[in-house]
Symmetry: C2
Subunit: 238 residues, 2 copies
């Protein structure tokens, strides 16, 4: 039994909250959850605290936990925040210099992304995985563990993560074209870091996050049927 009941409760509850099984603002009852999972209240309580830390739940003043609710503006700000943090990672990597090994790895990922987006061999699944890896590598490129963890934190709000809207947009016509643009930004960020152009790296990384905001607007205002495909958007009211 590798992981303990606590971790399993965390994973289970996280999935259920993100899937929308618990509506936004709904209170979570320890006893009910404990019975469902067949464990005692103690690890459930710990799991609820963990999910609060992740930003998915909030403490109710009178006691207990409830599913957190977000407005459209909250989501937009969370995306902006990620852009600012990734921009800082890019700038610091440029200013301080990134380790060659790390730069080499992220350039390999760039090549992989090129192949995944090429017309003749378009592979959405590969793109999704490589995109996540690119952003993870970028977060650590400056060597600052403090910053890396903070970016990870900011991207843990599911709708703020770099991969949040990929799945939702998979079928949209203009989507493949937007991937080409995104990939151009990826390359520009790494090139700027390589050339020690900190301001450029920061600016492009910020702008890159704006793609997510545009996708958010599309999903929320143009084609709401896609909402269910973006994890965590069930927590957005309005």
């Amino acid at each position: 039994m590798a992981e303990g009941r606590r971790s399993r409760a965390v994973m289970d509850l996280r999935d259920r909250v993100l899937s929308g099984e618990f509506p936004a603002g709904a209170r979570l009852y320890e006893v009910q959850i404990a019975e469902t999972l067949g464990i005692s209240r103690t690890p459930v309580r710990e799991a609820l605290g963990q999910l609060e830390r992740e930003g998915l739940l909030e403490r109710v003043p009178s006691g207990g936990f409830a599913v957190r609710t977000f407005t459209f503006d909250d989501v937009a700000d969370a995306i902006e925040l990620r852009g600012v943090l990734e921009g800082t990672a890019a700038r610091l990597a440029a200013e301080r210099g990134a380790e060659p090994a790390r730069l080499h790895r992220i350039e390999q990922v760039l090549d992989g992304l090129d192949r995944a987006t090429a017309e003749e061999s378009y592979d959405f699944g590969a793109y999704e995985a490589l995109n996540a890896e690119f952003h993870a590598l970028l977060a650590g490129l400056s060597g600052s563990e403090i910053l890396r963890v903070e970016i990870e934190r900011a991207a843990r709000l599911p709708f703020a993560s770099p991969s949040a809207f990929l799945r939702g947009q998979q079928g949209v016509p203009a989507f493949h074209r937007s991937l080409i643009g995104a990939q151009a930004q990826h390359r520009a960020i790494v090139e700027a870091i390589d050339l020690r152009e900190g301001t450029r790296a920061e600016g492009v990384a910020r702008e890159h996050a704006r793609l997510a905001r545009r996708n958010l607007e599309y999903v929320m205002f143009e084609d709401r049927s896609l909402i269910d495909r973006v994890p965590g958007l069930s927590m957005v009211v309005g």
Copy 2:
């Protein structure tokens, strides 16, 4: 019945960790703490989890919690991070426009800071309180709750907070002069926001945080006797 045993345990443990009573890296034993506080392990456990969220403790892989350790670079990066976030708050306030009531309040605080730093009526205690209020107001000036909370989080690492090094430097000769410079930056930030000069506001706010970095360097490398006066510096190794 004020706050429940959990909150009291949090406050007590936070103080003791920051005071250096538990050395960096030291493990915290639930039973021992519970006995000291005269409560059971359950609220102690919750308190430890809370302090992990605040970044003061970390989970030990084999189980339990230990006092987190930071390097000098970690502290410098945490300060840089706060500067980036406060810079973003200033920029967004400028770009989006700040509520007049909020702007008015922060300008009143600016006037108070002027009085507190004036030669004839220098009042360190007042400066400390007003400085904290200035930074709290700045964090909320853009109206983004997401950002405000994130700044609060970043400033919860005690050595990264805007007031961290004030007390430590209280007796240093050049200190009063540096306060004058800091106050000039405060005014420049608010002026830039008022004039909707987002880039300027962001830049000055970032530079403002660099004062903390300079103070950190002074305390760590010039006069280490001051270390004990800055809360949380006991967690820094080296």
